[in-house]
Symmetry: C2
Subunit: 291 residues, 2 copies
């Protein structure tokens, strides 16, 4: 299968490398420089003590993707709209798949006319080391659901890189949203690793109160969701959340797509979400303050 991947960040490189095991992969990067580097050196995935390099074709994002059977979007949610505008002939690709966190890209992809639109969530831990190398810090999986179009999403059984089709896209995306909403802003606020939310009784109380607010607005099976949040927090106890890393780097965070979405739903449903609003302001305030 011919697979295109938009975005040369940690998730883009991870997908490009692993999928190259079985497919003909082209990665589309923001800069010419990164594309040249990947064409020269391939994509290298480090995992524990192993390192493997994959032959991957690379191009700058602004060229046509018309030859691809499926195009994965592995860019931050807040640049999806811009990136879509940069790609010529995108509408001629049969299948597009969006891997963003949160829900704010949904209203954007609703407008696309591609026959099949998929949405997925990525549960791997990955850190970009340089323009051609990514460290696979946590082996998880990818879940993909059909947002529009054919019945089946996309499956793969590549070792350490499973991709599963799911029937209900909304549940996949909201469950990741809730997990992110509960773990990321709190860890970014306090500058702590995920595990601290389990160990510190006060932070744990806040986690519970926040979870309660969010699930009063986003429909879900509360008991199962809380178990999932706890499990992910335990499994990633030694990790820094992406939002904390963004705050530390002085980068823009995904707060709009996560708590911003919860705030929007709360307004629609006329629910009060005081802690969500407070945390949203905390992260926006820290972004504005910088560093």
């Amino acid at each position: 299968m011919k697979i295109g991947i938009i975005g040369g960040g940690s998730i883009g490189l991870l997908f490009a490398g692993y999928l190259a095991e079985q497919h003909n992969v082209t990665i589309y990067t923001r800069t010419e420089h990164q594309a040249n580097e990947i064409n020269k050196k391939g994509v290298t995935i480090n995992k524990q003590n192993t390192s493997k390099t994959y032959r991957v074709q690379a191009k700058k994002t602004s060229v046509s993707v018309i030859e691809e059977d499926i195009v994965f979007f592995a860019v931050k949610q807040y640049i999806v709209e811009d990136v879509l505008l940069q790609i010529p002939d995108l509408e001629k690709v049969r299948t597009v798949c969006f891997l963003q966190n949160g829900m704010s890209h949904i209203k954007i992809i609703e407008k696309l006319i591609n026959p099949t639109i998929l949405v997925g969530i990525v549960e791997h831990g990955a850190l970009k080391k340089n323009e051609t190398t990514v460290t696979h810090t946590g082996v998880g999986g990818t879940k993909i659901g059909v947002f529009k179009g054919k019945n089946k999403a996309f499956d793969s059984t590549i070792p350490d890189f499973p991709i599963e089709s799911h029937e209900k896209w909304y549940e996949i995306v909201t469950s990741k949203l809730i997990v992110n909403a509960v773990i990321n802003p709190l860890t970014a606020l306090y500058g702590v690793k995920n595990g601290e939310l389990l160990e510190n009784g006060y932070f744990h109380n806040q986690m519970k109160a926040l979870f309660h607010e969010i699930t009063s607005v986003i429909p879900s099976n509360k008991e199962k969701m809380w178990e999932l949040v706890m499990t992910i927090c335990e499994n990633t106890a030694q990790n820094k959340s992406s939002m904390l890393r963004d705050i530390e780097k002085g980068s823009k965070t995904e707060i709009e797509a996560i708590l911003g979405y919860v705030l929007g739903e709360a307004i629609k449903k006329n629910e009060k979400v005081v802690i969500t609003q407070f945390l949203y302001d905390s992260i926006k305030g820290k972004e504005q303050k910088g560093g």
Copy 2:
């Protein structure tokens, strides 16, 4: 007048020095070492480019205070109870005056049998430099009200160190409480100087929401109080709040006496104070985490 001052921190040293202009002052310190140093070197107050040293007698806290006409307590609210137990013959002193922030010392001093009990709030900025030296970083004043006993509290017109008697102790103490409750926990949470709460729109929103919650529980003239909070925040824009300094040093903060008191009042009045609870947990969690 013979004046005793319990506590050799920044406020204790400031009171000892300035009051020595007109009174016979003895400062009671926790350590023998500090008492010896003060007996040897006096108390030095630095202010801008000036420095003045005052002759002050010093003793360890555990000795009798029976000779004093008035004893000021300049110790943190959370050690008031312990300190009271260490002082022999305290009940024989006619007048005691408590200078703590917050309200949690009130239930302790209610039990004292001294004929006159005063409570005051200190609006000076002061930083302890070493065991005998304090820097007077912001000239303010001291307001004292009668909690129990005679009509008049205590007045003084020492330059740069005015002390005013007020009729209503509750208003003095709660207005300081509200100011501290709105400024200190937020600045300690974000690690910012007081002025950042005015400049950063997101933090300013949080300040407003918090003020609204607190004044729904603590009776006050809302409009005047908000003006006071703004004025103090502006006047101390370049300062770090005492709670932020405590968090930075890894010391215990006064959160119990400030937001802990608000939470207690909220329970009594059956009011929901979600932001107050969240911030209380934030500061307690940061204390527990350390550094």
